[in-house]
Symmetry: C2
């Protein structure tokens, strides 16, 4: 069985869990605490970041997009109409562009700052940089959220799924990212009806269920987090 080293409030980790579940690949989860640079984990991924997939013959595959391409090459490309990558070259480029929008651009502008300040910093020991959230960092991250919600609303309003007619990796990447911000109650869905309707469809998929049931200790989710008809 495959093993995924992950962190529950990391968008890339959530994305890979969704991908594996959509392809019905069984896997075991091992949680890595981001600020503990565990020696055995660094041997699997010298970058020290999650997610890392321990694949066949315990070969480590490290990094979100690297794992995503690996899963497409070994599972997706044999899945015919269930493949989560479009079958044409420009369709794949569009799905990859949007996947990177959420997992790189939104991550760097919003998600990782939000998770660091609100989730990990309060749990970290002081000597590793733990403590109260940095109000300035939180404000900067919050000021960037609206453009990502607006862009999601634009995509959802002009297409059936975010990258086109069919569900692709882009929907799972966006869902993984937005589910973290939604847990933290940082998304104001009002005025973004197309995005809300799209997100309701994504989060009602069976692959989403395990994510919606998880809780961060001491930090309850927003009231509507696990409700598919929010």
């Amino acid at each position: 069985m495959l093993t995924l080293f992950h962190y529950p409030m990391n968008a890339g980790s959530r994305f890979i869990r969704l991908l594996l579940t959509e392809y019905s690949v069984p896997f075991t989860l091992i949680e890595e605490t981001p600020w503990v640079r565990r020696r055995e984990f660094l041997q699997l991924n010298p970058a020290g970041s999650v997610p890392v997939l321990l694949a066949e013959s315990d070969q480590p595959v490290a990094g979100t997009m690297t794992i995503c391409e690996y899963i497409d090459e070994t599972r997706g490309s044999m899945s015919r109409d269930k493949r989560l990558m479009p079958s044409d070259v420009f369709g794949r480029a569009e799905a990859r562009r949007l996947t990177s929008w959420y997992l790189d651009k939104c991550e760097n502008e919003v998600t990782r700052h939000m998770v660091r300040e609100r989730v990990t910093r309060p749990l970290m020991p002081t000597e590793k940089g733990g403590g109260s959230p940095d109000a300035g960092a939180l404000r900067a991250a919050r000021s960037n959220i609206t453009q990502h919600l607006k862009y999601t609303n634009y995509l959802a309003g002009t297409r059936n799924w975010l990258s086109g007619d069919k569900l692709t990796i882009a929907d799972l990447a966006a869902g993984a990212t937005l589910s973290i911000l939604d847990y933290l109650g940082e998304l104001d869905w009002s005025g973004h009806e197309a995005a809300r309707e799209w997100y309701a469809r994504v989060k009602s998929r069976p692959s989403f269920r395990p994510l919606l049931q998880e809780r961060v200790r001491g930090l309850p989710p927003s009231a509507h987090y696990a409700d598919p008809d929010f």
Copy 2:
């Protein structure tokens, strides 16, 4: 002919130029100034970032890894032993992991800070954030350089090319990144002989020549920048 929107001191842009040249794909270059959010360019890539490739039928392909996969799918996979992606699935995962090491990890820890403080900020108008380099940001970026040079030295000392026996996208990504830091005189090669020997091999490739001939106005390169036997 394909068109590449690029910025000369952007590692992703340099990487795609190397890739296209290695595959003998002719292309036209259009320089995008990072702080000018040109309306026509934003229509090609709403993220506003370089590189963007205008591919066949003027279809925009945006984002470094998205363009890299597009080039592999449309050129590389037909190039047999000249393909810059390993032919086995774990080889590809390793080449992608290392490509992301330089274009994401090193970019976020070193390259983009260095380029912002030393190249773009002095050229930017004050109202866009231009001015003198931020000494703190420079110091932080510099303190991270050694680990990347050390890791490159480790890879070059244990393998023929960075990701294995053959030249791959990983060597071009690392070369693109290190060539920017080398231009700026930020790399201390002493004590990193394996990395130096590998970099001399990469930079003596014909695909590298146009990069080595370019100059940033008002900012001459380090003395050995264009010298293959530095």
